[in-house]
């Protein structure tokens, strides 16, 4: 059974039609890269999956694990296992990373009637994850993304991904604004995450990221639809030709 099934979705944002009949199926164990020019609807797709307020599905359906999730609240989707790595992670002053991560983990455990992670084990895990992502463990005490550099914010998203272990990870231009070292750290994190039971949707503007995270499928999004699909060689072709020939 498919993990994610987006069926002929049209969607609008601020009265503007952005997605115009998009289809996408992701099975467990698969990594799908979504590429496309600016304004093609890549981020809209990510926000539709996570249920961001203001993004409205006008027709079609989004199914996760066989359930139509169109009416689900964002936190309910998170509980079910959808994770969005934000393009622009927000700052939440005064709320420490540690506090935030524990609250996320506990909320998810509670919703799924699982036992809460004990505090000591959690702290140990968070510290070791931080280290593996080249983040100073001190940063766990700081406010969520407060005063973080762009690279730190993105690595923080990956840390959350690894800690929360969702079923589907949607990475919205996680590579943007990263230098090559940070990019490798992030890619290594995603590779560590991927396994036969989960899926990854990788949204990116550049082929560069796909050198480090090798996708099973590459889709080209243009004007709200997937106009071409293929394997990783499609990404290389796009790199050479640019996006102009698509429209």
């Amino acid at each position: 059974m498919s993990l994610l099934n987006v069926k002929n979705v049209t969607a609008k944002v601020a009265e503007q039609n952005i997605l115009k009949g998009l289809n996408l199926e992701v099975k467990a164990g698969e990594v799908h890269a979504i590429m496309g020019p600016n304004g093609s609807g890549k981020s809209t797709l990510a926000n539709i999956l996570a249920g961001k307020p203001g993004y409205e599905v006008t027709s079609g359906s989004v199914e996760f694990d066989g359930h139509d999730i169109s009416d689900w609240e964002p936190h309910e989707r998170a509980h079910a296992g959808i994770f969005l790595a934000f393009q622009y992670p927000v700052e939440i002053p005064g709320v420490s990373n540690m506090e935030f991560l524990k609250a996320s983990l506990d909320a998810k455990a509670f919703a799924n009637k699982q036992e809460q992670t004990n505090a000591a084990a959690f702290i140990k895990q968070a510290r070791s994850l931080a280290e593996s992502l080249d983040l100073n463990p001190d940063f766990l005490k700081r406010g969520v993304n407060e005063g973080f550099s762009g690279g730190e914010k993105k690595r923080n998203e990956i840390l959350q991904l690894l800690l929360l272990q969702p079923r589907l990870a949607v990475l919205d231009e996680t590579d943007s604004g990263l230098d090559i070292d940070a990019l490798q750290v992030v890619a290594e994190g995603v590779n560590r995450f991927r396994n036969d039971n989960n899926g990854v949707v990788l949204i990116t503007h550049y082929q560069r990221l796909l050198d480090y995270i090798v996708p099973d499928y590459v889709h080209v999004l243009a004007d709200g639809k997937i106009v071409q699909s293929g394997d990783k060689s499609l990404a290389l072709e796009l790199e050479k030709k640019g996006y102009a020939w698509l429209t």
Partner: protein, 488 residues
């Protein structure tokens, strides 16, 4: 689909301390004249000087008018409709031992989580406040003070002020009204005339008070005002941390609470005064609730003394309160940390005054205001640097958080500097709980209600960390409860 911030702001807070206790009371008829003042004084068996002191205050009060400068709106208070003295019936002859206290009263405090039985308190049965001595004030009288003996060993005096008048007359006479004179302002004058009870603390020279002291105020009786008076004296080199909590039943009419708190810190002494104020705020339409018109002031009388106010204000229909510090001693330090949350129709006009007189005096003001519903939340502050205060230094940070666009957040910071060797800095910002923050939390599985509360708690962190541990937890929870209502 998803909540927007606006959707979250509705309905009224769930006020958990709103029950009424069924206690028979002696309550005098409403109205105020000289005979009422004399009655209260006689009831307490006060010495002549105090009766006269009260009468002088009453005369001053008669000539004064209620202040109108605060950014709050309410119909004028009818001072003739208030009863100025109310005491649980079997207490009217003064406090007795705990064993004789009406069990209903004890149950009231149990319900509020305030342990009055020392054994239970020590065992932490009722809640985890094992090392706090409590003075419980019910309407007009103090009904019990715990741990008196243990404190006495250290030489600390902690008792109802009505008792201190008799047991420590010289201290009371010397310091009562020395920080807040009886004619200081309209409500302070009223309090000076009719104050019923409150706590008295004296920490002797060089003593570090062995436990946290606390007073718990409860208004129960209908149509009564509460006018307690607290006096804390920290002698040279002593330290004390004092906590204050307040609740009242849910009633449709407004009730007046006009307290006076005076703190005196002599040389090298330190007083830390923390308040969690949770008076009944009224319902979602602004009906009922406490008018909290309070004068709190500390005097750093000696060199290197320090007074620190921390307040978490979530209750009351109207709050009018400016815990202040007069920095007279050289190198003395004043601090004010405040969280004020208003919801529904609540109005708060609160802040502080830092009056720098001594050389190299320092003050810090951190104020966090949160407004939701249709409430009005104002910070009002005065930093005054007198010509004598060379080298004085003040830093003020005033942040407002707005939730919804029907509330108001205001900042009125007065800076009056008459010494060019002083440095004063004031900063203020406003922000909101952004839809993006809310979505980011939700995306990680945190529901919107919890998310708002987490964000607001984060906003208040700088103040919460100043509270004693047990209180910090309580304050966080209280904020959550107050917001829980707000986020429906």
């Amino acid at each position: 689909m998803s909540h927007s911030v606006d959707d979250l702001v509705k309905s009224n807070a769930e006020y958990q301390a709103g029950f009424i206790s069924n206690i028979e009371s002696d309550t005098i008829p409403p109205g105020l004249d000289e005979s009422v003042v004399r009655f209260i004084s006689a009831k307490k068996g006060e010495p002549q000087w105090l009766t006269e002191w009260r009468l002088e205050a009453y005369t001053k009060w008669r000539e004064m008018t209620a202040p109108e400068w605060a950014h709050v709106h309410f119909p004028p208070v009818d001072f003739e409709s208030i009863s100025y003295y109310s005491a649980p019936k079997d207490m009217s002859d003064g406090p007795k031992s705990l064993a004789e206290v009406d069990p209903e009263l004890l149950r009231t405090y149990e319900k509020l989580g305030i342990p009055l039985h020392e054994q239970e308190a020590l065992a932490g049965v009722i809640q985890s406040r094992p090392n706090v001595a409590v003075d419980a004030v019910f309407d007009s009288v103090s009904i019990a003070t715990t741990f008196k003996d243990k404190l006495a060993e250290a030489g600390v005096v902690f008792c109802p002020i009505s008792e201190a008048v008799h047991s420590h007359p010289e201290l009371v006479q010397k310091y009562l009204g020395s920080v807040v004179p009886k004619g200081d302002n309209f409500y302070a004058a009223l309090n000076s005339a009719v104050f019923s009870d409150g706590s008295f603390v004296y920490i002797p020279k060089g003593v570090r008070c062995p436990m946290e002291l606390s007073t718990y105020f409860r208004i129960n009786e209908r149509n009564t005002g509460q006018f307690e008076r607290t006096l804390i004296i920290a002698d040279e080199g002593s330290h004390v941390s004092y906590l204050e909590g307040c609740t009242a039943p849910m009633r449709d009419e407004n009730q007046l609470h006009a307290a006076v708190v005076e703190l005196v810190a002599l040389g090298d002494a330190q007083i830390k005064y923390s308040t969690v104020q949770n008076w009944y705020p009224g319902d979602e339409n602004g009906k009922g609730g406490i008018y909290n018109f309070v004068t709190k002031r500390g005097l750093c009388a000696g060199a290197r003394s320090k007074i620190s106010w921390t307040q978490v204000e979530t209750g009351s229909a109207i709050t009018w309160k400016y815990p202040s510090v007069v920095l007279r001693g050289d190198h003395s330090v004043g601090e004010f940390y405040s969280v004020a949350l208003t919801n529904n129709r609540q109005q708060a006009d609160t802040g502080t005054k830092m009056i720098h007189m001594g050389k190299d005096t320092r003050s810090t003001i951190i104020s966090k205001g949160i407004s939701t519903g249709r409430s009005e939340n104002s910070y009002r502050g005065l930093v005054r640097i007198s010509p004598t205060a060379s080298g004085a230094r003040n830093f003020t940070q005033c942040d407002s958080l707005l939730i919804g666009d029907t509330c108001g957040a205001h900042t009125f910071p007065y800076i009056e500097n008459s010494n060019t060797q002083a440095i004063v800095e004031h900063e203020a910002t406003t922000s909101k709980v952004s839809e993006d923050q809310l979505f980011a939390c939700q995306q990680r599985g945190i529901d919107p209600e919890k998310a708002v509360s987490m964000i607001v708690n984060g906003f208040c962190k700088e103040v919460f960390k100043e509270l004693p541990m047990e209180f910090a937890v309580e304050a966080g929870k209280l904020l959550e409860v107050s917001l829980e209502g707000a986020v429906g």
